[in-house]
Symmetry: C2
Subunit: 333 residues, 2 copies
Amino acid sequence: MSTLSIATAAEVFELLREDLAAIEQEFSRQSASNVAVITDIAQYLIAGGGKRIRPLLLLLAAKALGSTGHSRIRLGAVVEMLHTATLVHDDIIDEADTRRGRPSSNTTWGNSKCVLAGDWLYMQAFSAALEERSFHVLDLLISLTQQMVEGELLQIEKLGHLINEEEYFDLIYRKTACLFKVSMQLGAAITPHDFGDAAIIESQLGEYGRNLGLAFQIVDDVLDLTAAEDVLGKPVASDLREGKATLAVIHALERGTGADREAIRTVLADRSFTSVSHPQILEILRRHGSLEYAMDTACAYAEAARQSIADLPPSDAKRALMWVPGFVTSRDR
Amino acid sequence: MSTLSIATAAEVFELLREDLAAIEQEFSRQSASNVAVITDIAQYLIAGGGKRIRPLLLLLAAKALGSTGHSRIRLGAVVEMLHTATLVHDDIIDEADTRRGRPSSNTTWGNSKCVLAGDWLYMQAFSAALEERSFHVLDLLISLTQQMVEGELLQIEKLGHLINEEEYFDLIYRKTACLFKVSMQLGAAITPHDFGDAAIIESQLGEYGRNLGLAFQIVDDVLDLTAAEDVLGKPVASDLREGKATLAVIHALERGTGADREAIRTVLADRSFTSVSHPQILEILRRHGSLEYAMDTACAYAEAARQSIADLPPSDAKRALMWVPGFVTSRDR
């Protein structure tokens, strides 16, 4: 395989096929508890799928530095478990009815059990991570989790309110980019290598993850506004319905007429499209080029991600990492 | 101070006064977040008080082995933070209106914020524990937390159902005794000493904690049945109202007439005293000596706790540890 050609999805998948399968197994094994309801909820969540993008990033970071050990499988499962734990608690908070096109776990098992199932997944993730016997790994994971939880609380505080770009970027960093960053850092942290100063390499890979995560969440937020419900697997414009202003909306708020601003404010305050319709909002966003602005911003972060790893030596994993940002910004769900 | 005389509450308090004050400060410092609502909820919980029995056990275990360092303060705050985190999530699950005679945090801030505040307290506790740079400490804490969360889930599964003594002891081990045990183990783990094999001493102190914790919870459950609401700071017989069968109730179920069993079953299934009154249940328990049976069992565990530390060299801390079980079994709230 040439290290000059551009990677394809099939090639990336082939590169990681065995590792991703091993991570699924590890995730499933780690989620088996002697308390039946925990195993039930965990298996339901695992079966729900998801893009597994966090383990994928961790694997690529580790492989780009020549990883051969089992740590990347274990920690690949850990980052997906942490991600799943946050989803379980977020669904309770958002009173979500569906997740990935299926009933959400709280709809099926009730809030009480899901609070505890989320707690259990957090602890199980830390328990597995603890097996690495690395304080640095634990520092990264605990600090990450705290930032994510704080982000979710900040989001609740801001629901229904107008926020500015700075606040938006802080929220999406905590919500998504932070875990992308740590997944990349972990891939580096567990891989002994001699490609240069370990701290610098870990930080560059972390930067890649942060930039990619910001791009990923901006695209997610645009898709929430524009994609069809059957493609997305959740109701359209659910962010606005929950009182969340995302990048395109913030852009339109700053550039729109008084009437435009009033329309957006109304939807955020009502948390519904009863007074102002979804097509009306889309018309405002299109008129001000707000959706393009958001997508352009996402593409700039995607490019920044690629730049962050320019110094890495050539490898199939590096080519895959160069491919991921384009995949993230061009997806339709 | 003679090491032969029996300790008094005043003497124990005096022995630990400075350390307990330092732990309050540490707990308060650790609970300050840059997200205001977290600090608010945490400060509210700290101000709510509580017996601080878990830090007290950790301090006594450490002092009995000659501790001089700061670790006992840090980890004293950690065990109280973990305990507080479980209370926050438990109150959501039990839909509790009050806690320690005040509105519960979920009543004040709502479930969503309290799910996240509980998560944050867990993470902050681990983050502080991580500063010890001891894998053994982390192993104890993470495994403990998982057992507690599993216990709470098991409890939900059993609500409204008749359980046997074995199931009851498993539940109260997870709910209370497990954290008492780990508090004692941590006190030993962080204290270098030459009183003998460190693993054996840690295990003996752990046994003390386990036995004391079982005694503590049995007494708590008896008080829930018998104490007055204004003394207890929560509604009487709330366990029965929530469908929880505790030791005295299990005893009466196994020894009662058909009519007695039916009355108890009805209350557990109804989760209220509408068909069968609280005094009727107390009459059944008294007729079968069930409350005495539970108290006798608690006293046996209290005595087992004292026996567990018989080998410790004499010290003020040991005398205090000998005093605690009697305090726990003779309290009225």
